[in-house]
Symmetry: C2
Subunit: 336 residues, 2 copies
């Protein structure tokens, strides 16, 4: 699967800025791939991109219309369906991270076939997979893991990918969730595969390679989150990581959506991940910690990073505020 870029970001009639998080992520990490935005109303959230009609976008070389929004049910509203059909008829591919499948929109699959374009439902994965084996494979891999969901694992992976490439160490980002897949144009939504194939999916996503230095694999969930830990463990075993980076949000009161589950101790998170990782890669090591410090001032954040560096003897940073150079340095020092 490869979603052709560049993109036209479809924002529908969404007015809640949070609901456009996916589109914002694509624009942040792949600005050169985002030619413009398509909004159905004047009140729709704007990403400060050029407002383009489908015809404009066609003239500017756009290949894919991307539904870059989320809503509670994950359902594609009926009021959007005409635009999607128009887009298909004009030769655009469509990519969506919604739960509802594009192909379940009446008539859309037939139109897509007729116009020889593809419908990418990145939250679903239907291609047959093999079960994982844990067999050693060529190439170095870094995986971001978390103390919980939504603590910056995708952001950290993308920041490391960018920094490594900028430092002349060729890296590839490997997406495991819908936003990451839309950013990279490829990947596997590992939480959507059949449970037996979690580690196998990651082995397929990051096969043996000698073409570049690192695969940077986006983590999902947390070994400490009782909703999703199975996904996280399969991902960890399948990733076979040489290097791990822990992501954590400072000040989070409890596991996300679960007030009865306290946040785990960081030492325990580090130990549990390392122990599990070594089943498929005995050389696995943590090379850094990325904190989301948005709840405190920048000065306080610097202090916390310094304290954590001493406590855990690892490079610690907030990738948004301070970048990831100290982690890159650690990778270089290890001989990456």
């Amino acid at each position: 699967m490869q979603i052709p870029q560049p993109y036209l970001l479809f924002l529908g009639d969404v007015t809640d800025p949070l609901a456009a998080k996916t589109a914002r992520g694509i624009l942040h990490w792949r600005p050169d791939s985002c030619v413009g935005q398509l909004r159905l109303t004047a009140q729709t959230v704007s990403l400060q991109l050029a407002d383009l009609s489908l015809a404009d976008a066609k003239n500017l070389g756009v290949k894919t219309l991307v539904i870059g929004t989320a809503n509670a049910g994950g359902v594609i509203p009926e009021s959007w369906q005409q635009v999607l059909k128009d887009a298909v008829q004009m030769g655009f591919h469509i990519a969506s991270g919604m739960h509802q499948r594009l192909r379940d929109i009446p008539g859309l699959s037939a139109l897509a076939e007729q116009h020889q374009v593809q419908l990418f439902d990145v939250r679903h994965y239907d291609t047959p997979l093999a079960v994982g084996t844990g067999q050693q494979r060529a190439g170095k891999r870094l995986l971001t893991v978390g103390s919980d969901c939504s603590v910056g694992k995708m952001y950290t992976a993308l920041a490391l990918d960018r920094a490594l490439n900028q430092a002349g160490t060729p890296a590839q980002f490997k997406a495991t969730g819908q936003t990451g897949i839309l950013i990279q144009g490829q990947g596997i939504s590992v939480d959507a595969v059949v449970a037996d194939f979690i580690s196998g999916a990651v082995e397929a996503l990051s096969p043996g390679f000698d073409t570049h230095a690192w695969d940077i694999i986006e983590g999902q969930g947390s070994l400490m989150n009782p909703s999703f830990a199975g996904v996280s463990l399969g991902l960890l075993h399948g990733a076979q990581p040489d290097a791990l980076v822990l992501c954590h949000e400072l000040g989070r009161p409890h596991i996300r959506h679960l007030p009865h589950m306290p946040m785990p101790d960081i030492s325990e998170v580090l130990a549990a991940n390392l122990q599990a990782a070594r089943l498929t890669n005995p050389k696995a090591e943590f090379v850094g910690i990325c904190l989301n410090t948005s709840a405190i001032s920048e000065q306080e954040a610097q202090l916390v990073c310094e304290q954590w560096r001493e406590r855990y003897r690892l490079p610690v940073t907030d990738p948004v505020r301070f970048g990831v150079d100290n982690i890159i340095q650690r990778l270089v020092d290890r001989g990456a």
Copy 2:
């Protein structure tokens, strides 16, 4: 889902006794629910049950025809399809643990609808699930876990279930794999659910209860098997077990199908399971170890069980050779 019993066990034209393992398991654990067998040829494996025609079975009150065989591809041979159609037309439900779905046999779904019978594809699970929460729930739960796949987790769970009930402690067996589901008539094939819902599936399978003493939950895979550990961890978190029983096969040279993966150290398996289990049940404890000692003599096996009892300070038994009374005693001593 409840598969109506009693059963007629369908053996097709299978000649390899190993391929009839599922039918044999159903007969072993639910002899009163197995009225007879249906074999397509004289060479077909026999379970020493009465050979019945569909008409005979109907007269004897059979409700469901069960495909109790396995083959490499999991495909239902074309030569079996006519019998399945005849059965549906005579008002039998059909249950299958094959990979290929009954409803993908051309015409079978329509026939089933017409004759108001059900097709049970127990290896698949299509009912919507919620994600797990780890929220404490009423009732006591025991989970069997393993050093690997195929080490006796289902056998042990069924043996414990039977022994508890015989001792006057009401227990219910909760099936998580296709053979267990066919034996019990209900359950969820947890390795077949979408990865995000592994722990949620087990919470749905064993909800809070005050109607009996124990739910005995069948484990799957192993935290130490890199192919399936994600399933095992989600199952462990969802089961929220008060009690754990470790299953292990003596003399297994390496993880099943993976010659490059050595068998793990038993102390490590115990520790990893206990640590993970305590995320959702801080009171989780091991109450016994079940060994498959079929590779050694009964006398040697007794010696090994004695040695393991001292080493791990737990009741140790081979459930096939020596029963599970010592584990039941431990449960009673704990105040079950």
